[in-house]
């Protein structure tokens, strides 16, 4: 695997292999083994959009395997002086970076870097398009909570249209054999009737009824994406997930959220912090999943 651009088109075997490797990495991290696996690698994080958990999680993953890490610190770099993405990445490559972990507001930006440089590229989120490591850690979390994703019905609720997390989950969970529903206000699910194998539910009740797991998406208050709904209050009223509504799902069905949460909007504090919430597990699985990704992309693990 030269790059991790997306999980679209993955086979079941590829997905299982990566998730198995992540489990192995989790053990190795605890045991402080494999600390030399990436000692020849320089992993650069280039986050053109703000992020804390994803960037930190990649850095910790790289360091746990012995890589040198460098953060591009976009805000203070020459990017602010108008340097193009391709020029910045070429410079990064010349200074010795071998792997670029890229987050960018433009869908497809990692494809451009993969084509135009010799860097191995890990997509840490591109516009509304893909967030493959989030989907991988979600899949690992779900697999461990449910035993298997095969045959499970997963409901994804929220701003699906603008969500790279939703798109990557739709690809990967389908690969793993899940049945998928999406739901939200019309502007948040527009066009998804064309997505193969996905059911667009007409209401939150329809989406959650009998679901084996529920994934709430972040309402991106900081983007103009919020303009697709009447108001945040109306969203919370019609689509917010409370304990009562979570009861529509299969008894004990777990709840996921990619974070950071807007408590009181897409879910209540009670749900977010309740016994069925896997939000903490998702964060914990972030580092081992990214260790596995970096090991595969760098060629350290065949």
């Amino acid at each position: 695997m030269r790059h991790l651009l997306d999980v679209e088109g993955w086979s079941r075997d590829e997905a299982d292999r990566l998730l198995d490797l992540a489990v192995e990495m989790r053990g190795a991290r605890v045991a402080r083994e494999r600390r030399d696996l990436l000692e020849r690698e320089t992993v650069a994080t280039a986050f053109y959009e703000a992020s804390t958990r994803t960037r930190v999680s990649f850095e910790l993953a790289a360091r746990a395997l012995g890589a040198t890490t460098v953060d591009l610190g976009i805000a203070g770099s020459s990017v602010g002086k108008g340097e193009s993405l391709v020029d910045t990445m070429r410079t990064l490559e010349r200074t010795g970076a071998t792997v670029a972990v890229l987050r960018h507001a433009s869908a497809g930006a990692p494809w451009l870097v993969a084509r135009e440089t010799g860097l191995r590229v890990v997509n840490a989120g591109d516009g509304a398009h893909a967030h493959p490591t989030q989907a991988l850690l979600d899949a690992l979390t779900l697999r461990e909570a449910l035993g298997s994703v095969e045959g499970a019905t997963v409901a994804i609720v929220g701003d699906v249209v603008h969500s790279r997390v939703a798109r990557s989950n739709l690809h990967l969970l389908a690969t793993l054999g899940a049945r998928l529903r999406v739901a939200g206000p019309p502007a948040f699910v527009a066009g998804f009737e064309t997505w193969p194998g996905v059911q667009v539910a007409g209401s939150l009740h329809q989406a959650l009824e009998g679901a084996d797991a529920v994934m709430a998406l972040r309402v991106q208050l900081e983007r103009d994406a919020g303009s697709g709904i009447d108001s945040v209050a109306a969203y919370a009223r019609d689509w917010g997930i409370s304990s009562e509504r979570l009861a529509w799902a299969r008894p004990g069905a777990p709840l996921l959220h990619p974070g950071p949460t807007n408590e009181g909007v897409e879910l209540t504090a009670e749900v977010a912090n309740g016994p069925r919430s896997l939000i903490g597990r998702q964060v914990e699985n972030g580092v081992p999943v990214r260790m596995a990704v970096l090991a595969l992309v760098s060629g350290a693990v065949a």
Binding site: V86, A107, G108, W111, V161, W195
Partner: protein
Amino acid sequence: MTFGSVADAPATLLLRGARVVDPASGEDAVRDLAVRDGRIVEPAQLPEVAPRVEAAGLIVAPGLVDLHAHLREPGGEGAETIDSGARAAAGGGFTTICAMPNTTPALDDPGLVAELAGRAAAAAAQVRWIGAVTRGRAGETLADLEALAAAGVAAFSDDGSAVPPQLLDTALARCAALDLPLIQHAEDATLAAGAVMRSGSTAVRLGLRGWPPEAELACVERGLAAAEATGAHLHLTHLSTAAALDAIRAARSRGVRVTCDVTPHHLALTDAWVAGDRRFAWEEPGDPDDGLAYDGRCRVNPPLPARDDALAQLAGLADGTIDAIATDHAPHPPERTLVPFDEAAPGLIGLETALSLGLAAVAAGRVPLPVLLGALSVGPAGIVGLSRGLGVGAVADLVAFDPAATWTVAPDGLASRSANTPLLGRQLPGVVRLTVAAGRVTWDDGTVFPRSTRAAG
């Protein structure tokens, strides 16, 4: 084959045994075609010393006319100039190109028209100018259309944006009085806001904001109503949807004076190209090559069409709904296309690939050859008041090409200053051997002859 010896004066030559396809007369026959002192003559009228060239296998057609080219001069000379754009035209078989006014400054001033016409006098193609409809193309106040007409513009357009509804009736009425067409870029700015590719399942999958076909239809319908009310000649450019063609058919049946064009890339390419697919519209769909996804050189306005719309446009070309193929040749330097897809400057070059893409559609059985050649010559010529045809006595203005030969699109092989096209590396049918513009050879088997060369010779 070379015509180098005849390139520095009005052409005199004999093409022996060429397939002559003249959409002006309907002729499609294998025969000799003679040119003497820049005019088409009977072969018997040629002097004995005239160069005679074996042209069996070549197709000879009227010189191609492009209604829609961006030459970027003044203000964008890094991407193209009048000279380089005209060279690209000659190599692509075009003998007349119409330069769009979205330059910097915009072509809204008669003095600028005169100055550019002076610069174009030595170019390798005839250049006609499209004047801006509004001052600075800002869509606020109308330009001095009458003065621009007196300076010789062939039509008016605010291409890049539509002439806004509140100015359209007045603009069309003044165009009608001048008997010049108004070329409308048919896009409703509100409906298209923020969109970067055609709406549909591919846009949803790629996470890119989709451009709804209603953005074109709304503007087309507004334009047709205004043309009907004013009696003006409305020309709708670079159409991309089946719905727009249906609206035009209906308007024509009511007698509305409307013509339209499509680009080669809205006939041959589809929105799947944004996902990395490189199949033509008429080929069976399949899995795209993911490595080629999000190429900024596939971004264009209007966006590359859904496959059904591309096929509808091929049908509209074949049935005569579409009057012309126009290139929308839009050169950009690499720094404007080698960027994330939604940041890329829209548009691709087309002068050197238009005929070849058309021939690929012909080879696929989608368009008859005479229809293709008509839409590239006689059709657009009529819209801007030019004549084309291969009859005896006419000024020799023609292209001779080998439809069986192929070439590979490569930056080094292009005369344009820019190479922004997703066709790079692609092998295409059709090699232009000879271009004769207004009686003079401008392209001879790979060599361009701008008129400045001849003046020196």
